[in-house]
Symmetry: D2
């Protein structure tokens, strides 16, 4: 079970001899899946991987609802600011980003999204968010949070135009989303810890901006990470995907696999049951209608 | 270009000789794609089909935002009811269903979802909606709207327990989602048109319930369908997919194809431009980071 | 029963002899109450007036929920635009304004509010809306709607900087909120009706902007006004306030009166009942606690 | 400056001789104002009181936005539960209650309101919330939070029917809103602390329910209370009201006074400025229109 493909990548680089004995790996982050797909495309991957992260029972719940709430939670604990009335910039509108944007709006903030993907940008706009390039968002944001899985999405050129009092946090994978070295070079003095996990940087413009938790994941650094009641789905999916990999280890192709649909169905049925929610079942007539192209014309 | 696979299915049934000359078909509804996939699975499909409906530039916009607004619009025009404070039952939580549910909540309604798919049911619950089986929802709903692509999702057994004054509409594909024949049998008298497009049925319980537009698509029957500003994306996707099918007609496999990603990107970029929205571009450093599995560890 | 104090003002100006015989007037609009208060302050009011508009059972429901939905409805019918993704400027954040702003956000729009009152502006900001002066809002809005009860809140100086395609509507009281004469002077050509109720004006900048329903109330001009299910409360309040005025006609002071609280309670209890909603009652212990300042310390 | 009228009530009971020397008191809670009004009605009040709580710059911001966020914050810190998908019962729909209900919905919960006031109940319903009597809400809630300013709004009769795992918290004034003594009598064993601030009670039904912070204010007990960025308005209002009381001490009637409107305007203007928000000003023409009843007809 791997997070960010760290273990897999370590094995491939430093312990290639172990790779052959490995039945498969379960990867549970977006960042990791991106990297593993890159490895598979390069022909470098040496054993099968299950993209647990890509399971709907994982990313639609853990990433969206878990990251959304826990990032808001971490930011409030670190700063004790009122979110209502704040201009909050959600950097990235993947599942994590839209989870965060939705929760911030739910807390009364005016949310701005930045994106590099045109379809996701369009969804953000249609969802009622303001979509701006970072160069514009940087000027109006009171709080910025990165959730992209990519590197240096907030750079010194953006920080230089931020308002006095602006706050920067990260809730993506590594602490690489904010260019912290660039911030340190830009600042006219050493960072000053003004509250636990809150470092003040003074900019050439005279503005003071605040970096939370040194750019580490704010929901882990300042709060308790995702609530158990959403991680249960991720872990159930992971456990069942592992069982599946072991049971099918003989014929499992060396590539990045999706979690089988039957596992996703079962996990979500169990979760509904635990929440006391009952749903409908297809009638025989409906099953026939959906599977037949000759009916209904 | 086909809607509901009606044309394709007609050709296969009644004019099989034409089928061979056809380069391909563009299908723009969920219902149609379901039926075409069934045909392909049966080995019955005789020419390639492009699932335009499944393009994100189509279903995420047309189905979600278009159907959401136009269904609300159609219901208000037909009935002139205030949505705020009403218990509205959205039958189905696919893109159309969640578009409708979201818009109804945005208009102040208390929305209940019904589903047969456990993952979609879970998403509905996590999105803050009440999820009930139809047998329970039927007792509390003030307004029901079907958006499933399936047959007979509201049946006499449900109608029999509805409240006096309950309203039933359909915004799915055909007028088959509500069992209208069943309603007619159940009713103790002939339907009475109490307002244009609104038929009153009296039930054995004494309750009077109201069927809109005889179960036809309420957004087409009572309003103007989807606004042009969302259909533009669907039609652009369809036109470009057609061009692509023609240009690639030689090697095109006989199956249900997805719209190429490059077409989706282009359509969404054009749409953003028309809305005056600029977005970011990946830096060289970011492209390298995302494509390389050796960086960032 | 009066709307906009038109009748009262007419009587005072042209038929002062009737004034003495009048027991009282019921006023049902914000605009009217403002004008009647001005009359009372000037010592010009000649008979008692009940500010039915100010009853919570009126303005919190009719103005907020009624105007909110019906204005959205009128705009969609007149223009058939998709609200999702549009920059919509709600001019004024009173009950009507916040009803409209809330519904537009619920339809997926990005809503901007303009205000002259600092407290209302602050509430708008805390509710997550962007608050701008009209001079700034004018440059970014796709659609503007006035709901202020005041005159000339959109003026030629604002229109001159609007984007090509901008749409202007009014849902306040009179057709005076938009400076239409000013628009006509500003325009380089005669207005052109491009769709029923939609007039195109070409500006010196080359931009074309669209005035709906010649500035008349869009919910009445293009839709059916407020739904019956919200007007019921207004009319019930009005009827009962009239009865109260007649029963108390002897001692009724010549001023603007509020609707008695007992009437408001009764109307809202009846409405809850009609919606099938039950609520709690205070226990004896609770009544005592709330009325006593000696308990609970 | 008083909170809950504790000080004032103490002085009246135990130190009546001090009362005569007091210029006035500033009361900053809903509970306190209710009690002071009761004292004034009884003719027991001995010096003037300014109902700072009733200032819009106080209760519309502190109570609504401050309590909303900080209560959610306190509950998450105490329990680490995911709010999305939970049935949350907001007991009371005053400013605090609607702040809490709105924020919970914003976090993805399905919110149920209970009320004793028919108008507030109707507003809750029109805002899209489910309104139930506590006897029904008790059966379906996953989490209950009291915000009423009243006593024993959750009683043993309600607890007895709660689901296994139900959580109870208070964010009203005192720890009297939940009948904790009643809970202790109802429980079949001693409370067990299962997590800091979380006590488990086992009911005769076998269900285990969880009381947070022994019924004390959860936003103070488990989080940091209201953020500074909302308390600033309350304190500014309080300071300026105090100055006003001192300056006007001679003629100040012995009753419960409202904060002068000019103070509210000034506080909100300063707050807007600090947020970088500019608003419009009335033109001369507009001022004249609003103050004149002869124009505009």
């Amino acid at each position: 079970m791997d997070d960010g493909a760290d273990l897999v990548s370590n094995i491939h680089s430093d312990y290639p001899e172990i790779a052959e004995k490995i039945i498969g790996s379960m990867e549970e982050t977006t960042t990791g899946v991106i990297r593993l797909r890159a490895m598979a495309n390069d022909g470098a991957l040496k054993f099968p991987v299950i993209a647990v992260n890509d399971a709907m029972t994982k990313n639609m719940f853990d990433n969206r609802y878990g990251t959304g709430q826990s990032t808001v939670d971490g930011i409030i604990r670190a700063t004790d600011i009122l979110l209502a009335g704040k201009n909050i910039v959600a950097v990235g509108y993947g599942w994590c980003g839209r989870g965060f944007a939705t929760r911030c709006r739910g807390m009364g903030a005016n949310v701005i999204d930045t994106e590099v993907d045109p379809i996701r940008a369009l969804v953000a706009a249609m969802d009622g968010f303001r979509v701006l390039p970072m160069s514009e968002a940087a000027k109006v944001g009171d709080l910025f949070c990165t959730l992209t899985g990519d590197i240096h999405v907030i750079r010194p050129e953006h920080m230089a135009v931020m308002k006095n009092g602006a706050i920067i946090a990260n809730s993506g994978h590594f602490n690489v989303e904010i260019d912290i070295d660039g911030l340190k070079e830009l600042a006219v003095s050493e960072p000053k810890e003004v509250r636990s996990l809150v470092d003040e940087y003074e900019l050439p413009s005279g503005a003071k901006i605040y970096l939370l938790a040194d750019g580490r994941l704010i929901n882990l650094a300042a709060a308790e990470g995702h609530p158990a009641s959403v991680m249960d789905m991720s872990f159930a999916t992971q456990a069942l995907a592992t069982e599946w990999a072991v049971k099918n280890s003989n014929g499992l192709e060396v590539k990045v696999h999706n979690v089988p649909e039957s596992i996703e169905d079962w996990v979500s049925q169990l979760k509904l049951k635990s929440m006391g929610i009952e749903i409908d079942e297809l009638t025989e007539e409906q099953k026939e209608y959906l599977s037949s192209w000759q009916m209904g014309t």
